[in-house]
Symmetry: C2
């Protein structure tokens, strides 16, 4: 129940880049079996999501939750409409992706040295050096490549991250040949003015809004307001996690990704088309919350699920 | 930790109208003793909040939580800087307010017949008839009067509430002589375009943005995005509840008012002055969450309180 009232300057349609199966589950402690992951992805697709980042070819030692990447990809429903990007940390990850018929991949960069060291075990320069052959080979094979630039607003160790530093890392990632850049507020500290300024700086540096996506975490409650600012700045691809599952292990909070349901509620109200069936999506997230053994952090899922009330 | 980056068109300063002690506690099941309420208000004032709706002179039968209104008002710290509006449902409530030296009062109207019947036990017409002598007498005594128009976006029984209907009720409330109108999304269903359209309609009907406040509930996660839309439309008074306590008993959710901390985080990031010390505010809300025996629904309070993690 929500009145459709457009806001001037917003796009007619927004593409949701669903990250629940990868970014969401990756940060959940409860290990989900591949059969449940397959059901999760299948139900998300049935709810109308068309781009779903399904897993990561990172070494299982680092992310045990995603150790079943091959097994999962093997059983997912395929359709020309559905895109299943997979995270590849390095060339070995790309090898696995290619061996499994993956056609979209993503590399995960960091805007800060501290996070690059902790997450990638190398400097920003070294990480870009590591990604270069990944992107080059992926492109040569006809794959679509997304780049994430994480810690793009604040960093737990470095504090505020200067906009020029983020744009510099982003430009270098895009120059490798990536098709899309997802700007990540990994710890959720950014606010709407900062979002607008960063997108404008990206555009000024030649990374147009048609190649940008935004990836917000709701750690400080800012994710949806920041998304609204990004949409007003011309962005049309928004990352979100069904049920709001996940959460950055480096942030002191149980809340994580922007919940897809909360995003869809806003976009429905704004009359912006997403192609998503909210009812089916909420049902899917309630089911996954049961599997994870904790209530969904999504406000919409909570509001529409009386039995999970506190 | 958040970079201050202004967004064009926002006000330099926002006045937060703190509703935690009244609207927040009113909807909490755990009865809080008056000494704790007094400490709550005192700590909110110490954190820099300057307008705090402290209680209601409703009949104790309807709201047992606020049965101690006189006792509370008796012990609150006074200062020329501090304003303590009190809700008065009718003339008897106003009598009690006047007897207790209250200088700011608020009446609580409904945009819909269904909610007027359920909450006020009368029609919208009858409720405005009931408020007329309250506002007239309050004004004659030199009191400042606020009017709430609740269910201004959606209503659990009627669904979408037409903008013209809300503006009509609001206009009649303001014509009684009220100084400020708080537009309430009591069940939290509204989205940003609807907010903008409603504010524009209010302005067109002669209720300027300098007399408007917005009152959002975060039931569907929209409160902060809606606040951002309201600020861009020129509103400078925002209702919020410390720690996000409260919640409409008619909405199927444990989440309620916009959390003051989440609002302050956004405004700090936007470089908009509120005069609030976020650290002190978070400490206060953590303390109150302990008294209420449940974690704060505020994302910021959660993020800054590792021990309340799920």
């Amino acid at each position: 129940m929500t009145m459709r009232t457009p806001l001037p300057g917003l796009p007619e349609r927004v593409s949701i880049y669903e990250v629940g199966p990868r970014d969401g589950l990756q940060n959940e402690k409860t290990i989900v079996p591949p059969s449940d992951k397959a059901e999760f992805v299948t139900r998300l697709a049935d709810a109308g999501l068309r781009t779903i980042e399904t897993t990561s070819f990172v070494h299982p030692k680092w992310v045990p939750q995603l150790a079943d990447a091959e097994e999962l990809l093997d059983v997912l429903p395929r359709s020309p409409e559905l895109r299943y990007p997979v995270l590849v940390p390095n060339e070995r990850g790309l090898d696995r992706a290619l061996a499994n018929g993956v056609t979209e991949v993503a590399v995960f960069g960091s805007a800060t040295e501290s996070f690059a060291r902790r997450n990638l075990n190398r400097s920003v320069d070294e990480s870009i050096g590591m990604f270069a052959p990944v992107v080059e080979r992926a492109r040569a094979q006809g794959l679509w490549v997304r780049a994430y630039v994480s810690m793009a607003f604040g960093d737990p160790w470095e504090g505020d991250v200067p906009i020029e530093q983020v744009v510099s890392v982003a430009s270098r990632l895009m120059e490798l040949g990536c098709s899309q850049l997802s700007i990540g507020d990994t710890i959720g500290v950014g606010t709407a003015g900062h979002v607008t300024a960063l997108i404008e700086a990206m555009t000024a540096a030649g990374i147009g809004v048609d190649r940008l996506a935004v990836h917000f975490h709701d750690t400080y409650g800012q994710a949806l307001a920041n998304t609204l600012a990004a949409l007003r700045a011309g962005v049309t691809v928004v990352d979100a996690s069904a049920g709001g599952i996940g959460g950055c292990p480096y942030a002191e909070s149980a809340t994580g990704n922007l919940a897809t349901e909360d995003l869809v509620w806003m976009l429905n109200g704004l009359g912006v088309d997403t192609g998503v069936d909210l009812g089916k999506l909420v049902e899917t997230s309630r089911w996954m919350a049961g599997r994870l053994g904790r209530p969904s952090p999504s406000r919409v899922v909570q509001a529409l699920s009386p039995e999970t009330e506190q």
